[in-house]
Amino acid sequence: MNAKQVQRFVISYLEATGSSIIEKSPTHVTVKLSPEADRALTNRPYYWSFVDRTGAEPETMTFRWSFVHPSEAELSGPEAARDGQAGAQPQVQPQAGTQPAAGMPMPLLQNGPRVIRDDVYFGSRRLDQIFESVRQFGRCVTMFEEPPKRTGVGPLGSVPYTAWLGVNFKVGYECDMKREELYGWGISLATGVIDEAFLERVRERRLTPKLPPNVHLLPNGLSLRKAMAQLEHALERKLKAADFQWAAEAEERRLDELARLEAYYRPMIDQAEEGEPKEALRARLKQRSEEIDWQYRPRVTMSVMNCGLFHLPGIG
């Protein structure tokens, strides 16, 4: 993500969470967070539990986020950048603790709330937080496509809609290294047809969370669970057909390492006195072997990042 993409992403996030943007420029934004965004980003669980318990009017925090990548900001001179870095550190550290606000410099807006300055760039803590928040709050949806504008359907007619289960998968190939793939697939609950470009398709449509008028939903031929199972199996078939050279190589490394351990510990175990010394060495070998397994054993994880029900016009 370059600076522009980050900025677009962050602005969309702020809009989606209903935060109010006070001012913005091509390189920064000042924003008063919505309660939803504040809960997700400011790390104030105690404050929010206080608000929730007492019903007090929440006071959300205000930020000024700069989208200039620090490497570009540094062009203004190494001395300035060093100072900047030193200044940025106190902002970074408290985030790791449980007391977010302590020790942060808090410049004041004139007659306004305190504004916390932050750099937001790909790799920054703040953007990671926003990613995490998006992952949590963009998890499950039910959407309807806006009906086509009066084409072929009379005022009394009704457009038939089919339900689709859309699932976004992340597949991780892991050994001592790792690689990932994403799949935005969907399956028709009417026919069981699978669309491997489902996410791309629905992204182009105009969708609404409310059931539009003059629309009727067709009955499902497939239960949600069955549809999910079919989708998973289809993906699994695809994964099975992939190249497993990486796994074979990782397995080779694993066996190599285990053989090395065996060669090291076995003679020691054989020579050790019966009883405790022998057992201690055996335990050590077991521990080391488990570590090797943990490090090298090839495995694939398939996880559902998010998913939703999509009602789209048409039959099938």
Partner: protein, 611 residues
């Protein structure tokens, strides 16, 4: 709630829980908003064990988001926002690790570009050593950066979530700062028991190995273990060694700047922590590689085996851009008063060296007296006073000592301090003045202050906070830093490029450490070094050895540490020099013996290069 590293993939908790005894609930679920239940249905997972995707590969499925969808359908909502839904995909896409091999962390590092040898080291650790390595770069080449790169890469790839970093107590905060500031890694310094619950913790070895921490750590598993100053783990009978060897870890980095390959059994122990059996069993190792304690055989094979677990970048490797060093010796004549003191002390030393023959410790302290006179009267005064306290009250020596003290009283000015003052004024920029003696340091600070020059002190005994404060004052306010020690790893003074050696240590390694604080990666200016040298004194001989014989100021002697260590196998350099000084009949003999020592150093270097 601790902020989760970006890298934690949604799928990992399900898998890690199978294996990791988690002390706390998954922070993920704690972070979710109160009303929505995010707990993955555990029984479900148990009912569907991992299945085979391939004879070698298990498939683990985490469908907790789908189960969530089912629950929400049952309750008719609540539904998430459509644009957040799409953004979740976008975020995953941006962070996706598309490739097994390409370094991901580089595009995530703000405002800092690692040097080529650092990136290359990270690459080798990741792809050749598979995350278990000894990083043994020479001082000043950035081992911490290399370790940070490796850790960041594994974090980004979601292969490491929990990491434990064990370092000497004095370096804890520095590591935390470096990881946070340079790498955006949310590391915390361990202070309280609950800090262990954080994913990435930096702690001192001494804390970690004590109860109750010890038991906690031995009951945990760490995706990554990093140990700084790992040469302290060379003896496998020590508590530290036992403690570390009982930790459970996946990846492991051991950092050391000390050339461990000089002692084979120590090296063997270190590697056994990392990869038991890498050098064969103990007996095998002895038979294949060891002749004497420090003498190896089958050197080629040994190097090959070492190369698989250890990386050692050297300054002399090339490819590293250092600026030039220029050296100016500033010869000075002592004032008559000072000369009188020097002669008085020299005479005293010679007389008593005869009397103390055999007692090396007191011989050394006598030589120290002579060195101190060359530095400042304050330094020698303190030592004389301490000396007189050790002598029985009725000894005639007291009178001798008080004579010397009288000589000190008559000294009105310090030739070297005046010369330094002039130097600093001419330079007009920031200068570090190094001295061996605390008393000289205090004198200089006073002297500079009286002459309107802003100066701050720096010494080893200061705590971390004070050191940082002094550094900061030096950078922003003061023109001069008066330092008694060059050590204290990781102090970077690249913003300054003038050094004054007010007096010289006798060990070339310590001289190199002084220069290395300034002449290091990141220094953009040529470095100017001034050596103050009082003529007709012991200093002249030392400067002759260091400068003319082994020319150590202008060129970086590669592997100086290893050379000195070899030379010192029998006896330390300081002792050798002290003996020469006391045993030589006259100046000529002394000069020729010192030359002999210089030749030995050079020879060792040549021998080392041939190897």
């Amino acid at each position: 709630m601790p902020i989760q590293p970006a890298s934690q993939p949604s799928g990992t908790p399900a898998i890690q829980e199978d294996r990791l005894p988690q002390p706390a609930a998954e922070p993920d679920s704690a972070a979710s908003s109160g009303s929505r239940s995010e707990t993955p249905a555990a029984p479900d997972r148990a009912a569907q064990p991992a299945r085979k995707l391939h004879p070698l590969v298990d498939l683990h499925v985490d469908r907790s988001a789908f189960e969530e969808l089912e629950r929400r359908i049952e309750r008719n909502g609540p539904w998430d926002d459509w644009s957040l839904y799409q953004m979740a995909w976008e975020a995953e896409e941006a962070r996706r690790v598309a490739d097994f091999h390409e370094l991901q962390c580089l595009r995530l590092l703000p405002g800092f570009t690692p040097l080529p040898h650092q990136t290359e080291t990270a690459r080798r650790v990741l792809y050749e050593m598979r995350g278990r390595a000894i990083l043994a770069d020479e001082v000043g080449l950035g081992k911490t950066i290399e370790a940070g790169l490796v850790l960041k890469e594994y974090l980004v790839r979601g292969l490491v979530r929990r990491a434990l970093i064990l370092v000497p107590a004095s370096l804890v905060l520095q590591w935390v700062r470096e990881l946070n500031g340079k790498f955006g890694i949310p590391a915390v310094a361990h202070k309280k028991m609950y800090h262990w619950e954080h994913d990435i913790v930096v702690a001192s070895m001494d804390t970690a190995k004590r109860e109750p921490h010890r038991s906690f750590l031995h009951g945990s598993e760490y995706d990554m273990l990093i140990i700084d100053e790992a040469h302290k783990l060379k003896n496998k009978k020590t508590g530290n060694y036992q403690f570390v060897s009982d930790l459970r870890k996946k990846y492991c980095l051991l950092l050391t700047a000390t050339p461990v390959q000089n002692d084979l059994s120590e090296l063997y122990n270190l590697i056994t922590l990392l990869k038991p059996g890498q050098l064969g069993g103990e007996g095998e190792f002895a038979a294949n590689f060891v002749v004497g304690r420090r003498v190896a055989k089958n050197e080629d094979k040994l190097q090959e085996a070492l190369g698989q677990v250890m990386i050692r970048n050297r300054r002399s490797d090339g490819g590293l851009e250092f600026t030039k060093r220029t050296v100016t010796n500033v010869p000075l004549r002592l004032s008559p008063d000072e000369q009188a003191l020097y002669d008085g002390v020299t005479q005293y030393v010679r007389q008593h060296a005869q009397a103390e023959r055999g007692d090396l410790a007191s011989m050394l302290s006598l030589v120290t007296l002579q060195r101190e006179v060359c530095s400042s009267r304050d330094a020698v005064f303190l030592t004389l006073i301490n000396l007189s306290k050790k002598i029985p009250p009725d000894s005639p020596l007291h009178a001798r000592i008080w004579e010397l003290v009288e000589l000190i009283r008559s000294i009105q000015a310090n030739t070297k301090a005046e010369a330094t003052m002039k130097l600093v004024e001419n330079i007009g920029e920031k200068v570090i003045v190094f001295t061996e003696y605390r008393a000289t340091q205090e004198y200089l600070l006073r002297y500079f202050k009286e002459h309107g020059l802003s100066a701050v002190p720096y010494r080893g005994g200061m705590n971390r906070g004070k050191k940082d404060w002094m550094m900061d004052l030096f950078r922003r306010r003061a023109q001069v830093l008066v330092a008694t020690e060059a050590g204290g790893e990781g102090i970077n003074l690249q913003f300054c490029h003038h050094i004054v050696n007010f007096d010289l240590p006798w060990n070339p390694m310590r001289v190199e450490q002084r220069i290395g604080r300034v002449h290091r990666l990141g220094q953009t200016e040529d470095v100017r070094i001034f050596n103050l040298c009082t003529l007709g004194t012991i200093e002249e001989h030392i400067l002759h050895l260091l400068h003319e014989k082994i020319n150590m100021f202008e060129t970086v002697i590669g592997e100086l540490d290893e050379i000195v260590e070899r030379i010192e196998r029998e006896e330390s350099l300081e002792r050798r020099l002290a003996k020469m000084l006391l045993e030589s009949a006259d100046e000529r003999e002394l000069r020729s013996r010192i030359d002999g020592l210089g030749d030995a150093l050079l020879q060792t270097r040549n021998q080392r290069q041939r190897e």
